[in-house]
């Protein structure tokens, strides 16, 4: 009978060790999947859970915090995920923490990450609903990557063609190789600059004139705007014309005279010859010449008078001012 | 003392009340009719030897009586009740009063002699005290003359000793009827004779009735009050050993030659 008892003790030990090992392993697993111990429930709503299943891990800032307990479909765009989270983590999770669905590794299991928010907020309560952040899932990332890749391919293709063309073009290479061009270009650019500045001035003047004209100011303005003064001007100009014609005739006559005189002188006859030969004649010529001088001076006086005429006075004044300004500007340059 | 002469004194019990009445017992295996309307009556204090050839169904007969085999039809009335309709519980009750000695002894070879003898007691008499149990074991072993083997294992004993231990185990419940299945088979003639004598002694001592299966004529002569000849599934003849020995029936005669 004693042997029987010893055997029973051995058997009891055997069974108990086996069961204890089983219980320990179940407990260790349970600890991992938070089957035992006190938990709180948190909820989060997603549009897409990306293949999350019940039992997936929940991480809080990377710490194993619990598991996904239940996944319910609320409506066609909302899926509510209920999580069991260790109670010990409760003081650290705030109401404004974000929940998102991520991967354990690129191809690993899905996992819910609870991300703390920097903003202050009260501590979370049992059955609270966490705000969610839908992160691009891997599929979407891959899709975007793929279209980006396609674009890159097109671009690089075009680039290749362009580069090839540039390579093959001799003209461009010549241009690139010629160093004198740059100086030319520089000069021309300077000239163009000057020209442009002058054009600018001209345009300004023209602008002024046209503005004046529009406002009936200035000579030209008056000329263009006033009919009466216009006709006056006409007659004045025709007078001038006549006067200058007469002056012309006079000059041509003088020319002829000098020619004749020259001839006469050369050949010893004619007036000039006479004059030169004859002091009397020379005196006469002197008188004529002084007369001519007087005549031109008279013309000059006429012209001066025209200047001071109220009609043309403006114009001449303007001309004078302009000349003066130009001289000034050239001086300053 | 002359045992045979003692047997003749026992013939008075032929008129005692019947303890086993077998009538029209049928048992067949496949198409082989082993027992075909077999009839036998065992009276109180009587011992009947069933003679028959090997495979004639002698063992089947007593296994049907003890309920190890289910008879196809017929009635086996043991101690006033038909056991063919018994359930397991009723069979157990009947088996407390009917002992069975197996041909191969059937000692539990994983147990000591004491445990072997304890076994039926513990099963049948659940409230027996350890002291009474030990007393009974010693008594049974003393009856077969092997009290010193109590802590040995069956494998350490010779065939004859094993047979005696088996007999002691059968006796330990003090049955009213004992069924012996070829008690002397596989033993040398001297040991066989010892066993036969032992059977008779026990018969005397405990006033048991018995059915003995045998084809060992020495054993038959020693133990039998009456001899039944089993032939073709039927009880061909039943009478005392001396009468059958003188029988003119050729089928009976062949056993006694």
């Amino acid at each position: 009978m004693a042997k029987q008892t010893v055997n029973n003790i051995k058997l009891g030990l055997f069974v108990i060790v086996g069961l204890v090992l089983l219980v320990i392993s179940l407990y260790l697993i349970g600890k991992n999947s938070s089957f035992f111990g006190s938990n709180i429930q948190l909820k989060a709503r997603f549009h897409n859970v990306n293949g999350l299943v019940e039992g997936n891990n929940v991480r809080f800032s990377g710490i194993q915090a619990g598991t996904v307990k239940k996944i319910n479909i609320i409506d066609d765009t909302t899926i509510e995920v209920t999580m069991q989270v260790k109670k010990s983590l409760k003081p650290f999770i705030h109401k404004n923490a974000l929940a998102n669905i991520g991967n354990e590794g690129l191809m690993g299991n899905k996992v819910i990450n609870i991300i703390p928010n920097d903003e202050p907020a009260p501590v979370i309560d049992d059955n609270d609903l966490l705000t969610t952040k839908q992160r691009a899932n891997t599929d979407e990332i891959f899709q975007t990557l793929s279209s980006t890749n396609n674009n890159l391919q097109d671009i690089s293709h075009d680039l290749a063609i362009t580069v090839r063309r540039i390579n093959n073009s001799q003209g461009i290479w010549k241009l690139f190789n010629d160093t004198s061009i740059s100086t030319y270009v520089n000069h021309s650019l300077k000239n163009i600059d000057n020209a442009a500045a002058q054009v600018n001035d001209m345009a300004k003047v023209l602008n002024n004139i046209t503005i004046d004209m529009q406002h009936g100011k200035g000579t030209a303005g008056v000329l263009f705007s006033d009919e009466k003064s216009g006709t006056d001007l006409k007659t004045a100009i025709s007078h001038i014309n006549n006067a200058s014609k007469e002056a012309d005739e006079l000059i041509s006559k003088l020319n002829k005279l000098t020619e004749q005189t020259q001839n006469d002188l050369d050949h010893g006859h004619g007036i000039a010859h006479d004059i030169l030969k004859d002091s009397l004649e020379a005196k006469k010529l002197k008188n004529s010449l002084s007369n001519i001088e007087k005549g031109t001076a008279a013309f000059s006086e006429d012209m001066e008078a025209l200047k001071h005429n109220f009609l043309t006075r403006h114009y001449f004044k303007e001309e004078r001012r302009k000349k003066k300004r130009k001289a000034n500007s050239q001086d300053s340059q | 003392m002359d045992i045979v002469s003692a047997k003749y004194q026992n013939t008075a019990y032929q008129t005692g009340e019947p303890v086993i009445t077998i009538s029209k017992l049928k048992k067949q295996f496949g198409k082989n009719k082993v027992l075909d309307e077999f009839d036998l009556t065992l009276h109180k204090g009587e011992s009947i030897v069933v003679l028959g050839r090997s495979g004639a169904g002698k063992s089947v007969l007593i296994k049907c009586v003890i309920g190890l085999m289910q008879a196809d039809s017929g009635i086996i009335d043991v101690l006033g009740k038909d056991i063919t309709t018994f359930n397991h519980h009723e069979l157990d009750k009947m088996r407390m009063r009917v002992g069975f000695l197996f041909q191969s002894n059937a000692l539990y070879d994983s147990m000591t002699i004491r445990e072997n003898l304890e076994f039926p007691m513990r099963r049948h008499l659940t409230n027996i005290s350890a002291k009474e149990s030990e007393e009974r074991i010693i008594e049974a072993l003393t009856n077969v003359g092997l009290a010193h083997t109590v802590d040995m294992m069956p494998a350490e004993l010779s065939g004859g000793m094993q047979k005696r231990i088996a007999l002691a185990r059968t006796l330990i419940l003090k049955p009213e009827i004992i069924l012996y299945d070829e008690p002397t088979t596989g033993l040398d003639p001297i040991t066989g004779k010892e066993i036969s004598t032992l059977i008779v002694e026990i018969q005397e001592k405990y006033q048991t009735s018995s059915i003995i299966i045998s084809h060992d004529m020495k054993c038959v002569k020693t133990t039998a009050d009456r001899v039944a000849v089993l032939l073709n599934g039927k009880c061909h003849a039943i009478d005392t050993y001396d009468m059958l020995e003188k029988s003119e029936d050729t089928l009976v005669k062949q056993f006694f030659e």
Binding site: - | L68, R95, A106, P120
Partner: protein, 256 residues
């Protein structure tokens, strides 16, 4: 209906085992309960098998670790060696190797024991001694096998993991704590529970087949050897078939 020889034998045997299982269930639920003998059988079947199953488990864990190591290194995941080995041990190798060794040791011993008891009429003797041999011999052994194999399997898994721990530490260093952490980070209830549940069925099958083969042993001593042999062969095959069924069922239930 005539079915050709082997087929008929096969069907006959299947039906007989099913019937035997049915009577086992009946005898198990009805009193009386052979508790003492059951405990004795638990001791013999469970405790006595521990050294053998522990040894094979230890060697399996060690060998598996050393075999997997080069491959794991070539994939650059040497750190995952404990996880990998523990997963294969707990899910498959532990239960199946334990069950096969158990079938070899217990299946054959039950077959031979009951076979010899049948041949030497010990089973009949029990019946006559007021003991239902189905209860005393079969129910206790089958129940003991059913309940002990899971425990043996758990112990064997543990010893295997110890072997694996040694295997890891032959070439590199890993603390016990990290090893345990690694193992239990990958193990889940769905790894442990189905594999333990299936060992109940393995143990039951081994017990039932061994008992059936022994209980209906024929042809004397030669039959006993045959019983023991066919008990081992049949129960080993059944272990594999059950393993296949188990993986399919757990797969269907989504616990795989």
């Amino acid at each position: 209906m005539k079915i050709p020889g082997p087929g008929e034998e096969f069907l006959n045997e299947t039906g007989a085992i099913a019937r035997f299982t049915g009577s086992f269930v009946r005898e198990t639920v009805s009193p009386r309960y052979e508790i003492k003998e059951f405990i004795r059988q638990c001791y013999l079947i469970g405790y006595k098998s521990l050294p053998l199953i522990g040894l094979t488990g230890f060697i399996m864990g060690l060998v598996l670790t050393m075999q997997l190591r080069p491959t794991m290194i070539s994939y650059g995941v040497e750190a995952k060696l404990p996880a990998m080995v523990s997963l294969s041990i707990v899910r498959e190798i532990g239960p199946v190797i334990s069950a096969l060794i158990f079938a070899g040791k217990i299946g054959s011993s039950i077959g031979a024991q009951l076979g010899s008891m049948r041949v030497t009429e010990q089973i009949d003797a029990m019946d006559v001694s007021g003991t239902n041999p189905m209860k005393f011999l079969v129910v206790t052994r089958v129940l003991a096998a059913t309940l002990m194999l899971p425990i043996l399997s758990i112990l064997s898994d543990t010893i295997s993991l110890y072997g694996s721990f040694l295997g890891v530490n032959i070439r590199s260093h890993m603390s016990v704590h990290l090893f345990i952490n690694q193992v239990f980070s990958i193990l889940n209830f769905t790894d442990i529970l189905p594999s333990i549940i299936k060992t109940f069925f393995f143990g039951f099958a081994i017990g039932i087949v061994g008992c059936y083969k022994g209980y209906y042993s024929k042809n004397g001593t030669e039959g006993v050897g045959h019983s023991a042999n066919s008990a081992v062969v049949l129960s080993s095959v059944i272990v594999f078939i059950l393993d296949l069924l188990a993986v399919q069922i757990t797969d269907l239930l989504g616990y795989n």
